[in-house]
Amino acid sequence: MTFERSRRLPTLVFALALGAATAWAGTSPRFPAPAQIAFHRSQQTLRAGLAQDHLQARRASLGLGSLEGFRTAAVSTNALGEAIVRLDHTFDGHRVLGSQAVARVPLGGAVEASTDAVLKGVALSGQPLLTPATATAIALRHLAPRGPMEATPRVEQVVFPASFLGGPATVTDPVTGKASLDRHRTVHARMASPYVWAFEVRTRLANKVDGRKELTYHIDARTGAILRVVDEVRHQAVPATATGRGQYSGTVEIPSARMADGTYALYDPTRGTQPNPTLQSFTPDESGWSATGLQTWYEQNDAQGNNTWMSYLFQGNATNAWGDGLPFTAYGDEGGPNGQTMGVDAMHGMAWTWDFFQNVLGRAGMDGKGTSVFAQVGCTGTYSRENAAWSNWDQGMALGTGTPGGPGAFTDFDVIAHEMTHGVTGSTVGFLNTAGFEEAGLDEGTSDFFAQMAKAYAAAGDPYASTLPASGADWTIGAGVFNGTPLRWMNKPSLDLRSPDAWYHGIHYLDGHYSSGVLNRALYYLANGAPADASHPAYSPFLPQGMTGIGYEKTARIWYMAVSEILVSGGSGQLTFLHAREAARRAALYLYGEGSTGWGWDSPASRAVENAFGAVNVGLNYGEAPRTQVRFADFRNADWIERHHADSALGGSRQYFPMGERVRPMAQVLNNANTAVTWTVGGRSLFNGAEQMVHKGGVINADGTWTTPTDLGWFALTATSVADPRQSAEGRAFIVNLDADSDLEQDAVDMGALSYSWYLTNALNPAHSVFNAPWVDDGDVATFTDAVLATWWVR
């Protein structure tokens, strides 16, 4: 996100008007009382004007021309008392379709504006050749009403970007649920340029002959072509409360809707005001369905549990009673009572998680814009059957059926809340979730943590509460799905035999679902405290004295601020656990910064953050002297190959060695005079099925050298400090074959053959690459010299 801050208005004006502003100095000073919110709302118009002035002044820096500007489209006030102003981008006074800025204006008037969605390079030639009346006639000819219009069409001249051009549209049969091409709304127009003048024609039709329709047309203002047709009908279904029997949630009340035909659907029109991007491809019909609201769909399988690639909304229920509360076994009848059970659990989890984020953290849906979310239960297939996944593209979840006799359906509360939190981080910090990067663990850990908070919120039972209870989380993930045995333990992650309890150098090689243990345990400590009893499962040897937690409420707000306002990844992979610690500390000082030295320098909350992260070996405990650290030395130290070779995607801590040779891997020990380490082949990241056998090899000799394996590829090595065995590092050793001239000797002469291939690179090269790649490049040259130096060094 791109935020820029404008000047501040004199705070005095607002402080006087607010009167009781100083009463904020409580435990949550940033969240105004309801009466104060009313004051903030009264300032909305003023603040919207500030936002508009701010953006107008920034036009040049945004790359906008003199004909372009901004115009307030909507303004509201959030839970923090800040005005949220949406501003339309205009060209020559006309709205540019889909191009908006969103500004946040708090008390004091310092504007922060997000301009990511402002389209750049808008250019138009000529003026409209059609009149508004002609455009309306074209729209009405397409609409073809048989009865009278309910209202006169509304027409507005706009700038239409090519990216919004319509295409194939689908319609869903209300009886079978099957989708087919909607020829009436399908558009095959072409545009003369990336931006054209268009008329937006909004029509509203409601009579006995035509039924109810609200179609919006965009008509090319020079050619008369229909560029796009959108159905604007929203929420005709009536919110209702259903009784559900879930496998995990038990008998619960869940949101549903009474459809036009009087039956009910697992469809909650009250949560999510913006259409879901995937559901939007379906055409609303006369059933009352639309693409907004929380929705629970199911995957249709055959009787053997094979996917048919058809999905349906849970609907057509005459009694609004859903599910049988039993584990799912009814393949082929996912829409029946047994399949509905998965839908009940999913809807239960979705609604509570939505409310937690909205009511406690002030977030409108996962993406913060109120975009609707759906769950698709009953998923099968190799990947989906025993898994759950969130898609930012879809703003929805795919939830597996589980396997009879094995894991249950992946619809337990913490699974749902975990996945939905991915939607929050996906639209804020944007973690890269790939093994090889520490932030994969931050991503998964954040989802685990907010799943606990949502779980506690639901356990308290008040869907309107704006605060969290003091207890109610069990700090485990997936226990329901796996028949009582959690998938992850947040207070002692290593109980799963894969996750680490603390950070070590090289943790980025772990899958994020395991490296998440570090963040999970830190946030557990921050909320609950850490025991000083060494026999306690949650005991940390890095914090033997233990600590007192600051509770759910503060921990949730601190970490939410960290991921939504401080940390920035954008999918880059640049964030580490150390960044997470610093972000949490900053958030703690911002939200709960009252300390003996004043506000924002050092506070009990910020000390708790330091200790909680120090307890998982991320930074130091408050006031602690530097710790011993072990690092798997990188010969390259971010030199050419780190910057250029594709293999660098895995990040540092790698060493290259020739196959079948006696080599000396290198590790650095910091902050300790005793730099000795013990070496072992293998590492935590190998505890992943068959990989353990592949990537663990060779022999560590008595003198600490390593006789490398004769298999090519990467292997793992672990160095542990002799002085402080708590500290270790895992690194990758890439085993390469230097014998490029195939004379069964690995020596510097082989580099000649390598160079030979380099001469012919990308053409007729016979692949002498040490990477076993079909080409030779500078990566091979750098690797070759590194491997020779590391192996046959001259003493």
Binding site: D747, V749, L760, W793, V794
Partner: protein
């Protein structure tokens, strides 16, 4: 009678035994004077005009720097060799810890490259058995082959004084493998058979001089 030999008494007994031996009438030469351990190195260039290791002017009494020189007029794109030395001789290093130094003849960077950190094909290491393995190569076909009749690269040899090598001991250097990249490396327009034939490094023989510990 029991005798107790003290150190002094033991020496006296040995002297007596020698005296008795002398009386037998047999003469014996005095033991050779011990040869002092070598402290420096000397190197005599080979007579060859082909590929050879020639002493560089930067050599010192304790460190012999050897230039690899090729036959004049022969154009090449790179060379590598394995050189074995006996115990008592140690291979030295140059800047950066490499046991080989570029003499500046070969164009190591890609044609037109401006990246100072670009990897270059200059490698060397010491394998088991005191075997030095070094190589220096051009890697861009757009760079022309170079006349090899000049110093192409350097290596260094020092004396392992801890080994106690007697002065005057010859320390023979032997080249076990040596190859060059010739001027003709084929062209993209060549057929595959021709290319396959040309995509071979050529064996060469490198003459070494006489290395002596002094």
């Amino acid at each position: 009678m029991r005798m107790t030999l003290k150190p002094f008494g033991f020496a006296a007994a040995l002297a007596l035994a020698g005296l008795v031996a002398c009386t037998s009438g047999t003469d014996s030469a005095p033991p050779p004077a011990p040869v002092p351990a070598a402290m420096t190195l000397a190197y005599t260039n080979p007579a060859s005009s082909g590929w050879r290791l020639v002493k560089d002017a930067s050599s010192t009494p304790t460190r012999v720097v050897l230039n690899l020189v090729g036959p004049s007029g022969t154009r090449t794109r790179g060379v590598g060799f394995n050189l074995k030395a006996p115990a008592g001789a140690r291979f030295g290093t140059f800047t950066g810890g490499l046991p080989i130094q570029d003499a500046g003849v070969y164009q190591l960077h890609a044609f037109g490259s401006t990246d100072p950190n670009e990897p270059v094909a200059l490698a060397g290491g010491l394998k088991a058995g005191n075997l030095l393995s070094v190589g220096i190569y051009q890697k861009d076909r757009d760079q022309p082959a170079q006349d090899s009749g000049v110093a192409l690269c350097r290596i260094a040899v020092t004396l392992d004084t801890a080994a106690g090598i007697p002065a005057g001991t010859a320390l023979p250097l032997s080249v076990l493998k040596a190859k060059v990249i010739p001027e003709d490396i084929g062209a993209f327009t060549d057929d595959l058979w021709t290319l396959d034939r040309k995509m071979r490094m050529a064996d060469i023989t490198i003459a070494t001089g006489t290395l002596t510990a002094q």
